[in-house]
Symmetry: C2
Subunit: 492 residues, 2 copies
């Protein structure tokens, strides 16, 4: 079918790139660093948005929209944040083109239309949002503010990878303001829990929840929490972050509120986000050498039905037999594709829908009709069996639930097998170069050691897991004392 | 309550601006020309998106996402389109900031990070999308392509008005590609019909469907269809456009397909869009001097319930009485706010929810409980009546349907009263300066006359109505022969 992709063991990175393109999820555009999200990929994003948006709203958040552009002077107000993003900002300097006097039909930037102040295309929206919150917050009665935004952001990238790292990407960014530190910390933790629940329950990908080390912290945050997921090559992928901002942005933008007792205090903030990067994680966690493996909860098509027929009459009989099944499943909210193209053979269709990761495939022809059976194939295990046609519409939902559960359990087992404790730097390096995966090891807590380990091994501290128990030990690199193990890995 | 707004008759324009701000829909940001869409305004946009997106999908369209930036050379490929938007384009010229060596803590644009080719922030996406379609279309089997995008766009504006005209706005843009002219024209017309249905059925605003004159056509289109709605000041607002692009973009981007007989031909295109401008139309078509009047189908809150109480015990009794009503209405999909704040008096709450345009208000206190009654007020007519508490949950949905219907009929009657035929230029001018509204008049079909009329009266040809009958006459301005009347108005 001309859709062959390399296997994961041949070249994991090429497998990923080719799969994203061949499965019609996304492609590179002719705009440097920017991707086109194709309809099939965008349909997955819509499903993600819907699930997350519902979870945000159920916890009291509302959506709003803030400007794409941030004036440079506003952008630089929170210095650490500005410094952190300065090197990857797209800058608007002019607001008009004009005809090129030397080149008919061509346009040039009009030098007379230079902006007095340059505009930064938002790499993240803390600056513009806290500048706005200043006008919205006067008293404790105005708090908490629990706002989310679905938007595009731009972070200039020299080396891009579809979904994982592009100059423009789509995301949601929550920005909340609170009267007390405790409430802001609780919000930060709550959103981390929501992200973890979404990634595990909808994407079927287990995550480790933790705090980032100082070196990996969001610029301008007091504390960054994250969820880390393991990909099939043993690398880690940061799937979402939730930041406790302290009073940093409130101070930078002078956002104060009157407490119940009338005293003025700076507001406490959080911000949190996940992006289209999650689609990359979804692919790399589950898919196989035949193509995508999509979890039912996020699959744009749940079931594909492939009629086996040699002529119109046979097709008609098969159609009549599956029609009530389709009606019943659609009424239960499942998306079904009936692939009755007569331009392609069943084998081609099987391969195509495997590539697209449709969780369940049904195939039925005249011989099945005679026996009142249908062939049921599941994408995750590739198991096939022939089942009675009667009652199949009631069995499919159970099968889909089982696929969702199985995908999570398989990924969890995979991660557990590839999570190893290391007690010396030699052991640490041999794990990273051998079986790979997550390495749990003692660290002395300094940024110097973190950098030294990264320079030597390309592994970074993915997080200080929230559930890790206190355990006295010595840093694998410096030999200095340590209070608990942290999680290292090479990462996307 | 400090939320007073001027009346429409005092100052329609100021009434609109103040209403948008006081009702918490949107506000100007500190970024020149850009607005902040506040949660209550964004909730209306989400309802619009949901309804439109469903209509698009039901007619076979899928969503995708294309880059925010368009390289200048790609942008200028379709010359008319480029020329039409050149004067309002935000241009990215650099991709990095750096520390200002002369000013600690400040940033400057890094002169070493100048882009080889400038990027235009998309004012519309035909260029980037047709550049992509070139790769997606080889044969008639790849057609039609029916794609929609929800996105932000930027058109630099010197004079802005909330929702109606801002430098950045949110919209959807459909871009379709077809094998034949007939099919593309049918698509253009179908999308116009969908827009008309949405604006009439959801927004409760009647529209005139028509074609634009050459002077008002979308740059790069062969034909532009539009829907025009009348605002309460008699001005027209273009609520949506659907463009038949002919083969213009296919030629500019060399998008050809192999026909069934193997011959190569250029693809036929359409594009169509509506934007957050619709929120402005919604406000100006229905709202009154007390605030917003929202149609139930787009209201973020359908029903507000205001308990009348002097103490906690009374509140408890009222709450218990309305609890089953709320449960029943929520189960039917209605959004309800129970406003039991003890910091505000009922009168304040009444005024606040009137300002916010909530379609139905229920008020209930101890005396109502004694009589087993409840006060029901509708926002559109401001009619109030006391009804039996029993069965109220079944009556509200009917009342909401009636409000939706009544709002449309009122707006339709208003428009009919302000649509006048003019048979001389004097008559034409006196209508525009007197009763205002839509003026139906003969026009000679030339752009010169159109411009002359605009210069003298500020009225433009809003459209050549699709349903207008052929009628011989003479142009009100030039006296030359005309085949049919067209619709003139001053417009937003």
């Amino acid at each position: 079918m001309g859709k062959e992709i390399p296997t994961r063991s041949e070249d994991y990175s090429l497998w990923y790139n080719e799969l994203v393109k061949k499965a019609d999820l996304a492609e590179h555009s002719d705009v440097r660093g920017c991707m086109v999200i194709k309809p099939y990929g965008y349909a997955i994003w819509e499903k993600m948005q819907q699930a997350l948006d519902t979870m945000f709203k159920n916890t009291g958040h509302v959506n709003a929209y803030f400007p794409l552009f941030v004036p440079k002077s506003m952008f630089e107000a929170e210095e650490k944040n500005a410094e952190g993003f300065a090197k990857e900002c797209a800058i608007v300097t002019h607001y008009r083109l004009k005809s090129d006097p030397h080149n008919m039909g061509k346009l040039i930037v009009d030098p007379d239309a230079r902006l007095e102040e340059e505009l930064v295309v938002r790499p993240t929206s803390e600056a513009i949002i806290w500048n706005t919150y200043k006008k919205w917050i006067q008293s404790y009665r105005d708090l908490p503010l629990l706002i989310n935004q679905w938007a595009n952001v731009v972070r200039w990238e020299m080396r891009t990878r579809l979904f994982l790292r592009t100059s423009e990407f789509l995301w949601q960014e929550g920005h909340t303001a609170h009267a007390t530190q405790e409430e802001a910390v609780r919000e930060t933790e709550q959103m981390l829990d929501i992200y973890a629940e979404f990634v595990e329950r909808f994407m079927g990908v287990p995550v480790v929840k933790g705090r980032k080390s100082e070196g990996e912290r969001f610029p301008g945050a007091v504390e960054t929490y994250c969820i880390e997921a393991m990909m099939q090559d043993g690398k880690s992928l940061q799937a979402g972050t939730s930041h406790f901002l302290g009073q940093n942005f409130a101070q930078a933008f002078d956002v104060k509120f009157a407490n119940k007792d009338g005293t003025l205090d700076y507001v406490w903030g959080t911000s949190w986000g996940v992006s289209t990067r999650l689609i990359g994680a979804l692919i790399m966690a589950h898919s196989d050498d035949d193509g995508l493996v999509l979890p039912p909860k996020l699959a744009p098509i749940h079931i594909v039905i492939i009629p086996i027929f040699r002529n119109g009459e046979e097709l008609k009989k098969v159609s009549e037999a599956v029609d009530p099944i389709m009606k019943s499943l659609r009424a239960q909210g499942y998306a079904i594709r009936f692939d009755d193209r007569d331009t392609q053979k069943p084998g081609f269709k099987f391969a195509e829908w495997e590539l697209k990761g449709v969780p369940v495939r049904l195939a039925i022809g005249p011989r099945d009709l005679d026996k009142a059976t249908i062939e049921v194939a599941r994408r995750d295990t590739k198991a096939k069996e022939t089942r009675p046609l009667a009652g199949i519409a009631d069995e499919i939902p159970k099968l889909l639930d089982d696929i969702q559960k199985n995908m999570f359990e398989k990924a969890l087992k995979f991660r557990e097998n590839l999570t190893t404790e290391a007690n010396s730097f030699d052991e640490f390096k041999s794990i990273l170069d051998g079986k790979t995966g997550f390495v749990s090891a003692h660290w002395d807590g300094t940024i110097e050691t973190e950098i030294a380990i990264k320079d030597e091994t390309k592994a970074t501290i993915r997080c200080i897991p929230l559930d890790s128990k206190k355990e006295k030990g010595v840093c694998i690199y410096s030999g200095r004392p340590s209070e608990q193990r942290v999680l290292f890995a090479r990462a996307y």
